[in-house]
Amino acid sequence: MIRSELIQKIADENPHLTQRHVERIVNTVFEEIIEALAKGDRVELRGFGAFSVKARDARLGRNPRTGEAVDVEQKDVPFFKTGKLLRDRLNGK
């Protein structure tokens, strides 16, 4: 499923909303999650999962082409942990 299919499904269920409206609604949900993570906040959606930010330590990396050593700075990366309900559903429970 891709973004446009998700928008279509929700538009089909809500004939009183225009496609444009549904697009804005769906985009707002994803944008809000990214904004929260960019601020270092967590987003916890019970039953679905939780988005958080984890720190990756600085390390000595390597340019895979030249084999040269390069310093990689400390950085924050997004992380997702699947919620219990969804995890159970994946396994047919």
């Binding site: 499923m1 891709i2 973004r3 998700l6 499904k9 929700i10 269920e13 809500n14 409206h21 549904v22 804005r24 609604i25 769906v26 707002t28 949900v29 994803f30 944008e31 809000e32 999650i33 990214i34 929260a36 993570l37 960019a38 601020k39 270092g40 906040d41 967590r42 987003v43 916890e44 959606l45 019970r46 039953g47 679905f48 999962g49 930010v53 720190a55 950085k75 924050d76 990366v77 997004p78 997702f80 699947t82 969804l86 995890r87 559903r89 994946l90 396994n91």
Partner: protein, 100 residues
């Protein structure tokens, strides 16, 4: 850093502000987004949201695990797990956000 935890309520509040539907309907639409994504994943489908990220379902085979406390061997049955791969845009924004 603030370290707040956002929930469904914050997402529906954002939809309410952005689109001007009632709070109740905004909440229902946020739920619909999560529900459709969950349904697709439960049926084994990959969910790919451009400029956000990709959720995919992977099959893990059976293995012998160990209870870390007692050291007892316990069989772990085959199962399906979900992995999330953030988009470059999300990674860049999260990395940039932490530098400020």
């Amino acid at each position: 850093m603030s370290e707040r935890t956002l929930t469904r309520m914050d997402l529906s509040e954002a939809v309410f502000r952005e689109v001007g539907l009632s709070r109740n309907e905004s909440a229902q639409l946020v739920e619909a987004v999560l529900q459709h994504m969950s349904d697709a994943l439960a049926s084994g489908e990959t969910v790919k949201i451009s400029s956000f990220g990709t959720f995919s379902v992977r099959d893990k085979s059976a293995r012998i695990g160990r209870n870390p406390k007692t050291g007892d061997e316990v069989p772990i049955s085959p199962r399906r797990v979900l992995t999330f791969r953030p988009s470059h845009l999300m990674k860049d924004r999260v990395a940039a956000g932490s530098k400020r």
